[in-house]
């Protein structure tokens, strides 16, 4: 009986996932997180004046996340010149290391805007299970693409999508 319930639920979720894949329109939920200065920042203020936005979840203890951020940082200037994309890097480090995020980011000379989500409120609201997890938003603030995991070279493919979004193309079929 128990196994039946489990299988039904998994099946149901599986069907729901495929149903959702065709319509990914989603605006960001309203969650209060923090800036690097410890001031409250509401996620509704994630904004880039009609241009694409990347929201990426990372943590000091997540090596692939830091590699992904390094890759974005290396290309950020060029990407911004071409598409005006803005990157928000949301750290889910808990109180053990939230205070270390600012000196780490400075020491790495990262250019993107870093936010702090110490209790995982934004992470939970965005249904992030494993990090790294990156979201691409179009000019209207809708999530049009997201992926988890980072492999070397992934940023190139992601940038192709950013360019399409900047040009106003619909990438939901990708």
């Amino acid at each position: 009986m128990k196994r039946m319930i489990v299988l039904t639920v998994i099946l149901f979720l599986g069907v729901t996932i495929y149903a959702q894949e065709t319509s990914e329109r989603k605006k960001l939920p309203s969650v209060n997180i923090k800036t690097l200065d410890g001031q409250t920042f509401n996620t509704q203020n994630i904004y880039n004046d009609g241009k694409p936005i990347l929201v990426s979840f990372w943590a000091l203890w997540c090596k692939p996340c830091k590699k992904e951020m390094d890759a974005y940082n290396e290309n950020y200037e060029d990407w911004q010149d071409e598409t005006g994309v803005k990157i928000y890097a949301v750290s889910i480090d808990d109180a053990r290391s939230t205070a270390k995020v600012l000196p780490f980011v400075s020491g790495k000379d990262w250019e993107m805007e870093v936010l702090l989500d110490p209790n995982g409120d934004f992470k939970r609201a965005m249904n992030v299970n494993m990090i790294p997890h990156t979201f691409l938003l179009d000019g209207n603030g809708n999530v049009v693409y997201q992926h988890t995991s980072y492999y070397e070279g992934l940023e190139e493919e992601l940038y192709e999508l950013v360019k399409k979004v900047a040009a106003g193309e619909d990438i939901s079929k990708h």
């Binding site: 128990k2 319930i5 489990v6 639920v9 998994i10 149901f12 979720l13 729901t16 996932i17 959702q20 894949e21 329109r25 989603k26 939920p29 309203s30 209060n32 200065d37 410890g38 001031q39 409250t40 203890w61 997540c62 090596k63 808990d94 109180a95 053990r96 290391s97 939230t98 205070a99 270390k100 600012l102 000196p103 780490f104 980011v105 400075s106 020491g107 790495k108 000379d109 110490p118 209790n119 995982g120 409120d121 939970r124 609201a125 249904n127 992030v128 299970n129 494993m130 997890h133 693409y145 997201q146 992926h147 988890t148 995991s149 492999y151 070397e152 070279g153 992934l154 190139e156 493919e157």
Partner: protein
């Protein structure tokens, strides 16, 4: 349980039927969610000392969850289903079972929010209250009740919570555990005080008060039914400097964790940072004295913690640097940490074409000093006797016993477009008797080295390898480890790793813990399969740990979100 499932199914199916008729409502509503399935097939393995009788027929095990969130304008609701049938090795056996441990509904407007059901919340750094969930640990101390947040003036945020915490599958009946009530206020001076909005000084002040109520059913001691825990905090930023501090005071809270003493508890954190382009400095000091705060005073292990005591040590992630991890000692610990992050500039002699990163970190944790107190009704003094005030402890004194020392340096450099590497050295002092409960075991001193290199064949294919060594003449002796990973962006990875305990003083225990994995990722869906041996170890997140026994077999992880 069946009724809840039926109700959920009905609501969801009705939703799809209503789809046709209430298209307007449906257009504005959104359904999102995620799920994860971690399964294992355990096998006997003589090399690791696992026999069929030890597995006892429980070859298959899995931890799984599925959650759905429904949003319509200002209203949202969600549920989470979990199943551990049976739980994976190393998870608390009380988690076995299945059901809907998390159900909630929320209304949010610009200045106000109201939540009923299960929710997660953190006040400040968590010294008074932190409810959170950590899937890797099997940890979930969510509050089941109600929460209100209110922002009367922009920049002043008030929060109130009330409820009972989740404890595995125990129903929320009266007296099953304590009731938690809490209040938090945080003021951002730069937003509240008009004159400060453009100031170079950034100031945030906050305070919280949490109280737990638990009936006193003890025949021997008179236990306090209401125990309050209060804290004040401040974050101050001036130019490149930042200072963050929090002090918490908990009144008498005799419990199983502190051996039933009536001493008050204190927690103190202070950290200072300096940031400049390519350079970051961090220093922090921390002290906990009798700060365990659970909503059931009889519970030990990882259940029902109301607060969270952040450790002050670095989180290590390589196989061998994470072999001896730190776990917080709530009854007393005092420590500090320093970190320096520096980017050697590009085009400089040392930096090369792409620059070089240097990170140096040192942390240390000692026991606090404990002085004896009077034993009531006698002429004697004692430390940590039940029914007494426990001890007194001079605030800034470091006790003789060192729980932990960690010096590490990490250098990362990109040599060319195709080739980059990281070199790490770590020296560690690990009081295994205190941190893992191996009474009488001597302190482990170890040197650890890691060399990690990545080579990109093409823009999409890369090979990464790690060579690691741990050298010590205590505990299990020396280790060597190797990891090789081949990735094809954006979908595939394949990897092989081996940890070899070549220096174990007992020749029979010089075991190879080898694993092979491969996985596929597409957008948010990830599937990974691993075969091999997991060595016995400890998984820690934020200083909270769970022990993992050695195991052998197949492991599968499937995860997705929508």
């Amino acid at each position: 349980m069946k009724r809840v499932l039926l109700l959920v199914m009905t609501v969801l199916i009705t939703g799809s039927v209503a789809r046709a008729q209430f298209s307007e409502v449906i257009k504005r509503s959104e359904v999102h969610g995620s799920f994860e399935f971690d399964g294992a097939y355990y096998m006997a393995d003589e090399g690791v000392g696992i026999t069929d009788s030890m597995i006892n027929g429980r070859n298959f095990a899995f931890n799984g969850f599925g959650k759905i969130t429904y949003t319509l304008g200002k209203f949202s609701a969600g549920l989470r289903y979990e199943a551990y049938l049976p739980p994976l090795a190393g998870f608390d056996p009380r988690i076995e079972g299945q059901g809907f441990p998390n159900l909630w509904a929320m209304y949010t407007s610009e200045r106000f929010s109201f939540t009923v059901g299960n929710f997660y919340e953190q006040f400040g750094n968590g010294l008074t209250l932190r409810t959170y969930e950590e899937w890797m640990l099997g940890y979930d101390n969510s509050l089941n009740g109600a929460r209100v947040t209110f922002e009367p003036v922009k920049g002043l945020l008030l929060k109130g919570v009330y409820g009972m915490q989740r404890f595995y599958w125990t129903p929320y009946t009266k007296n099953s555990r304590g009731i938690v009530k809490g209040f938090d206020a945080e003021m951002d001076f730069n937003q509240v005080i008009k004159g400060m909005s453009d100031s170079k000084v950034r100031l945030v002040l906050g305070g919280s008060f949490v109280s737990k109520y638990q009936a006193d059913q003890d025949p021997l001691y008179k236990l306090p039914r209401n125990v309050g825990n209060m804290a004040g905090r401040m974050t101050l930023g001036v130019g490149r400097f930042n200072l963050s501090t929090e002090y918490a005071y908990k009144i008498n809270d005799p419990s199983a964790i502190n051996n039933i003493i009536y001493k008050a508890g204190e927690g103190f954190l202070v950290s200072a940072t300096y940031s400049a382009k390519g350079f970051g400095l961090y220093a922090m000091f921390k002290r906990y004295d009798n700060m365990s705060y659970k909503s059931n005073r009889a519970v030990t292990a990882n259940g029902l913690d109301i607060n969270f005591l952040p450790p002050n040590t670095e989180t290590h992630t390589y196989m061998l640097t994470s072999m001896y991890p730190y776990n917080t000692q709530p009854n007393g610990e005092i420590g500090f940490q320093f970190q320096l992050n520096y980017k050697v500039p590009k085009k400089s002699k040392l930096g090369g074409k792409y620059g070089m990163g240097i990170a140096v970190n040192y942390s240390q944790v000692n026991d606090i000093v404990r002085d004896p107190v009077n034993v009531p009704g006698t002429d004697t003094t004692a430390i940590d006797l039940p029914g007494t005030d426990g001890w007194t402890s001079p605030f800034f004194k470091f006790g003789k016993r060192i729980f932990w020392q960690d010096f590490n340096i990490e250098i990362d450099k990109k040599f060319s477009k195709k080739f980059k590497g990281t070199l790490t050295y770590m020296y560690q002092t690990y009081d295994i008797a205190t941190l893992e409960g191996h009474t009488g075991a001597p302190v482990v001193y170890s040197n650890i080295g890691v060399l990690e290199m990545t080579y990109k064949f093409t823009s999409k294919q890369a090979l990464r390898w790690e060579l690691q060594g741990l050298w010590t003449d205590r505990d299990k002796g020396d280790w060597a480890a190797l990891l090789v990973e081949y990735t094809v962006s954006p979908h595939w990875f394949v990897s092989f790793s081996d940890q070899y305990n070549y220096g174990n003083p007992d020749e029979v225990k010089r075991i190879n813990y080898y694993t092979g994995s491969f996985g596929y990722t597409h957008r948010t869906t990830r599937i990974a399969i691993t075969y091999g041996r997991q060595r016995e170890g400890i998984v820690c997140v934020g200083g909270v740990c769970r022990a993992v026994p050695a195991s052998s077999g197949f492991y599968v992880t499937i995860s997705s979100s929508f």
